[in-house]
């Protein structure tokens, strides 16, 4: 851990780019530019820009504006769980 930072959570945080593979596995195409609207503050964020905490048993995505949990993804040996109740919607632009 970087001694110049005191906050381990911030230090270990990455962003939605880090789970692009998992998201593509679930949705079948790249999701990094899909826009999620936060159920907490209604801010729109591309999935790539969500705060991501990936060092736990699953991944937690948080809103960069208000830090509310937007989604959680857990992979078990037999199934993938996606809890997306922290988003009002997900906007996926049609491929041109």
């Amino acid at each position: 851990m970087n001694v110049e930072t005191a906050d381990m959570n911030t230090e270990l945080m990455v962003d939605g780019n880090a789970i692009a593979g998992e998201l593509e596995q679930i949705f079948g195409h790249d999701m990094t530019m899909a826009v999620a609207r936060c159920a907490g503050c209604a801010a729109d964020s591309m999935m790539a820009t969500l705060m991501a905490f990936v060092r736990g048993p699953g991944a937690v995505l948080r809103c960069p504006s208000c830090t509310s949990v937007i989604a959680r993804i857990v992979e078990t040996p037999t199934a993938t769980y996606l809890d997306a109740r922290g988003m009002l919607y997900l906007r996926m632009t049609h491929a041109s």
Binding site: T10, L12, G21, G28, M46
Partner: protein
């Protein structure tokens, strides 16, 4: 669209870049190509079936076909990078999938001017962009601002020097945050508002910016760029998490 599938690649070359960074060239017979800035997921499986994976940026440009270059920082208490650094040998197989990501991507069709800001191994996806730009003989104005702790930490140092001296419209600016080489006249501090302002001035707020590195550096630089008036959709960010030491 085809599902993202795990595929096996063979390590053809391992090249030390710095005391704690190595590049791995992986031959991939089934690779479908990538865009500069994309990454791969690499998965390790233990004999007992335990699996763990990490994502690594692709350092090579799309123009290098049939193989990928992955440049990996050694994280001392990491789970995957010590295996790659200390155990993997030429000829070994690695399991990976990709390319993944479409947000942190730049190619010549995106246009410029292009401002790349990297910290530590955050330079890796930016290098794929610069190598692609050079391979396409693009003259899109480009600047790389690269933050390193010491001269030993500069990844791709010789190639960056060579590119900066031979390719039109490219400037490479390095800032050393702990120790600069003797006689260094360039930047010697962390990236701050004054430095970003100097670096972006020739491009103004039309710059397309890509910022990659440790989370705290990316947060700080992205906030400064937006504060300087850049539209948020021109500030692309990728956070690597903790630094390697």
């Amino acid at each position: 669209m085809a599902a993202l599938e795990w595929q096996l690649g063979t390590v053809t070359t391992i090249q030390p870049e710095t005391p704690k960074t190595k590049s791995f060239y992986v031959a991939l017979p089934k690779w479908a190509g990538h865009r500069p800035g994309q990454h791969i997921d690499l998965r390790l499986t233990a004999p007992d079936g335990y699996q763990t994976q990490r994502s690594y940026s692709i350092a090579s440009p799309p123009e290098l076909s049939g193989q990928l270059e992955l440049t990996v920082d050694l994280i001392q208490d990491g789970e995957v990078s010590p295996y790659l650094h200390d155990v993997v040998m030429q000829g070994d197989q690695l399991e990976l999938r990709g390319p993944v990501g479409g947000y942190f991507v730049w190619d010549v069709t995106v246009g410029g001017p292009l401002l790349l800001v990297g910290g530590g191994s955050g330079v890796v996806p930016l290098m794929a962009m610069l190598r692609h730009r050079a391979a396409q003989h693009s003259t899109i104005p480009a600047r790389l601002l690269y933050s390193c702790r010491t001269p030993d930490d500069v990844i791709y140092r010789d190639e960056l020097n060579q590119l900066a001296g031979s390719v039109a419209g490219l400037e490479v600016l390095i800032t050393f945050t702990r120790q600069a080489p003797a006689g260094w006249t360039g930047y010697q501090r962390r990236i701050d508002a004054a430095m970003l302002n100097e670096v972006i001035t020739p491009f103004g707020t039309s710059a397309r910016t890509y910022v990659c590195g440790p989370t705290l550096l990316v947060e700080s630089v992205a906030n400064l760029l937006v504060g300087m008036g850049l539209p948020a959709d021109r500030v692309h960010t990728e956070r690597f998490g903790p630094t390697g030491s």
